[in-house]
């Protein structure tokens, strides 16, 4: 007797499958298609091939947004990683007040980016902000913070009395590159973007610390006991045992922080400007750029889709690269 086909399992996955297919799979496929057209909010347009991608390549705003996003990632990821590992180590070493500290570090993680951005925007306010309040208390001049478009390298060197912009001027005429491009590359992130970096690190630190703490607690105590007997110091133990044993967690933290930082949006939308992304476009990141292209004045949904896909390509490449590296490092 032939067994009857069992529909049961399909019925169980059906509700989730419908939602995921309609609102995830189809939009993902659609985004590839849309990126080859010139759609706007009013409706479908005509097929234009790779034109959106070519346009992106020649779009100075796109490259600046990319550079800003890279600055953000390059600063946020390593600093957050090191700080959270240090905190987790200290937390792992204490008994009393451990859960209090853990909670304090973790609160920014559960609070909304919107409220946090509003608070930090006021902290960095030139006249009524806390940052300048502290700065002037310890005898420095107040700074422009979110209104400051100069790069951090420029600000730092100028304070040492070095004429950075003059140097860039000479160099740009020497190598035949435009002053602005060279300034953006050598000047580093603007002070405004640096404020965003601080907030982004602050927001994600608690999560990374908790992940590291969980990783540290999984390292068997016997390794440290053996090292103690062999007379290895604490710092040597950290690099020879902890750092090696924790590397899967490090890869996870590295990957998650990178992915999240590439997609920063709310802090930019709420803290910078007007216009958002200012001053002088130095805080415009890639997700805000595509949001602006898709839902701003030009309403170019196709161009926005193409930008989103390039972002996805970058994230995917980095993730695969990190996975390969992880395989090499693991024994």
């Amino acid at each position: 007797m032939k067994k009857k086909f069992d529909f049961g399992p399909y019925l169980y996955i059906l509700p989730a499958a419908i939602i995921i297919i309609v609102f995830r799979l189809i939009p993902i496929i659609l985004s590839f298609i849309v990126s080859f057209y010139d759609w706007t909010i009013t409706g479908p347009g005509k097929f234009i091939g790779f034109e959106n991608y070519i346009m992106m390549f020649h779009d100075g705003e796109f490259w600046q947004s990319m550079l800003n996003t890279f600055y953000l990632v390059i600063f946020v990821v390593p600093i957050s990683l090191v700080l959270s590992l240090v905190f987790a180590n200290f937390l792992n070493g204490i008994e009393k007040l451990k859960s209090l500290f853990r909670s304090i570090y973790f609160i920014p993680t559960v609070t909304s980016m919107v409220a946090i951005s509003i608070v930090w925007k006021i902290i960095f306010n030139q006249q009524t902000g806390l940052a300048n309040f502290f700065l002037t208390k310890i005898g420095f001049d107040s700074m422009g913070w979110l209104a400051e478009s100069r790069g951090v390298t420029d600000i730092f060197l100028s304070n040492l009395g070095i004429n950075f912009s003059g140097f860039v001027q000479t160099l740009s005429s020497g190598i035949g590159m435009s002053y602005n491009t060279l300034y953006l590359l050598l000047g580093g992130p603007s002070l405004a973007l640096f404020c965003i970096i601080i907030v982004t690190i602050w927001k994600g630190l608690g999560y990374n610390t908790i992940i590291y703490l969980a990783g540290l607690q999984n390292i068997p105590k016997v390794y440290y006991e053996a090292a103690d007997i062999d007379g290895a110091g604490k710092i040597r133990q950290f690099f020879k045992i902890t750092w090696q044993m924790i590397s899967p967690t490090t890869f996870y933290v590295l990957m998650m922080t990178t992915i999240v930082t590439f997609q920063v949006f709310s802090q930019i939308y709420l803290m910078t400007g007007p216009p958002v992304g200012g001053p002088l476009g130095t805080t415009k990141v890639i997700v805000y750029f595509l949001f602006d292209k898709g839902f701003g004045e030009s309403n170019n949904l196709s161009y926005a889709s193409a930008i989103a896909l390039v972002l996805f390509g970058i994230i995917l490449t980095l993730t695969l690269f990190q996975k390969r590296l992880e395989k090499k490092v693991h024994y």
Binding site: G8, W120, G294, A308
Partner: protein, 323 residues
């Protein structure tokens, strides 16, 4: 000795983590006048000059000093100017410092824009999403974990691979799709796309797989059908993971911003985060009101966090150990 270094470093950094919140609260109970005067420290202390006349103390502002006397403006208790350019003896003017909390800022911020409506919208959306995610998630995870069927692994890994795709990629086509369905600017747009969550399915599947086969066999021998087994055996054994999934769902939904910002337009549909964002543009100069609004909008989650602290931290920690 070594311990005390740990405590010092943890405290200093802990202070840096918590100071924005402390300052948010202290600024939220200051008068805007004080903030604008540049009194931006932590203590809500007000400084002002007073002048006493016939046993009544008036608030005044000095205008010009002229020898032993000073020209002043005199105000009543509502800070309305009642007399201008009065000439009084300087020695009669007293500088005062007063510790004063302006809790009325909270009421003003809450009623200035319909925050009540925003809270109700957010609660409605968040609870609907969590409810939906748990139902669709447990049904699907149950099938993936305990049943054999054609295409099971393919479908499962297809779902998992979609988890990698960042939101900006599907945001724009989702807008086009929802627009086509006529769902833009409705609750549907905020709820329906989110009532199934791949991560929840993954989380629950991992948990369901740990339940020993013997228990399923026993249930089958007792004549339990598939659904009854899920309801009476699997779910009760998975309480803590279900709570974890609910917490993730709730926090994610409560804090989501970009999606509702794009998918809704009318003020009546604003969720808390979107409402707060508009409020921050409208009242950008009123720092103390903004701080009050920020405070009450993060309060529900902070309270939830303080109550379920252990569970929440354990949930987030476990999300990193899936490897």
């Amino acid at each position: 000795m070594k311990k005390s270094i740990s405590y010092i470093i943890l405290s200093v950094c802990g202070l840096f983590m918590i100071i924005p919140f402390i300052w948010m609260i202290t600024t939220s109970v200051k008068s805007q006048l004080e903030v604008n005067k540049g009194n931006v420290g932590f203590l809500p202390i007000e400084q002002y000059s007073t002048y006493e006349e016939d046993g009544i103390i008036y608030r005044i502002t000095p205008v010009k000093v002229d020898g032993d006397s000073t020209y002043i403006h005199i105000f009543d208790e509502n800070m309305n100017r009642i007399r201008s350019y009065e000439k009084v003896a300087t020695s009669n003017i007293v500088e005062k410092k007063e510790f004063k909390l302006h809790f009325e800022n909270y009421k003003e911020a809450f009623t200035k824009v319909p925050f009540k409506r925003y809270f109700i919208n957010t609660l409605f959306v968040s609870f609907s999403v969590v409810f939906g995610v748990l139902i669709t998630g447990s049904l699907a995870a149950y099938a993936f974990a305990t049943m054999r069927f054609k295409g099971r692994d393919f479908i499962f890994y297809l779902f998992i691979s979609m988890m990698m795709v960042p939101q900006p990629v599907y945001l724009i086509p989702s807008y086009v799709l929802l627009n086509h369905m006529g769902w833009i600017d409705t609750y549907n747009a905020l709820i329906i796309p989110w009532i199934a969550n791949i991560f929840t399915i993954f989380l629950l599947r991992q948990q369901f797989k740990t339940i020993p086969d013997e228990l399923f066999d026993a249930a089958r021998i007792d004549g339990c059908g598939r659904f009854r087994t899920l309801w009476t055996l699997v779910l009760p054994l998975s309480k803590s993971v279900i709570v974890t999934a609910a917490i993730f769902g709730f926090i994610g939904s409560w804090n989501s911003f970009m999606w509702p910002l794009i998918m809704t337009d009318s003020p009546g549909l604003r969720v808390l985060q979107v409402g707060l964002s508009y409020f921050s543009q409208e009242a950008s100069a009123q720092t103390s009101l903004l701080m009050a609004a920020s405070t009450f909008s993060i309060l529900p989650l902070v309270i939830l966090f303080l109550f379920a602290q252990k569970q929440i931290i354990a949930s987030f920690a476990s999300s990193g150990l899936k490897g």
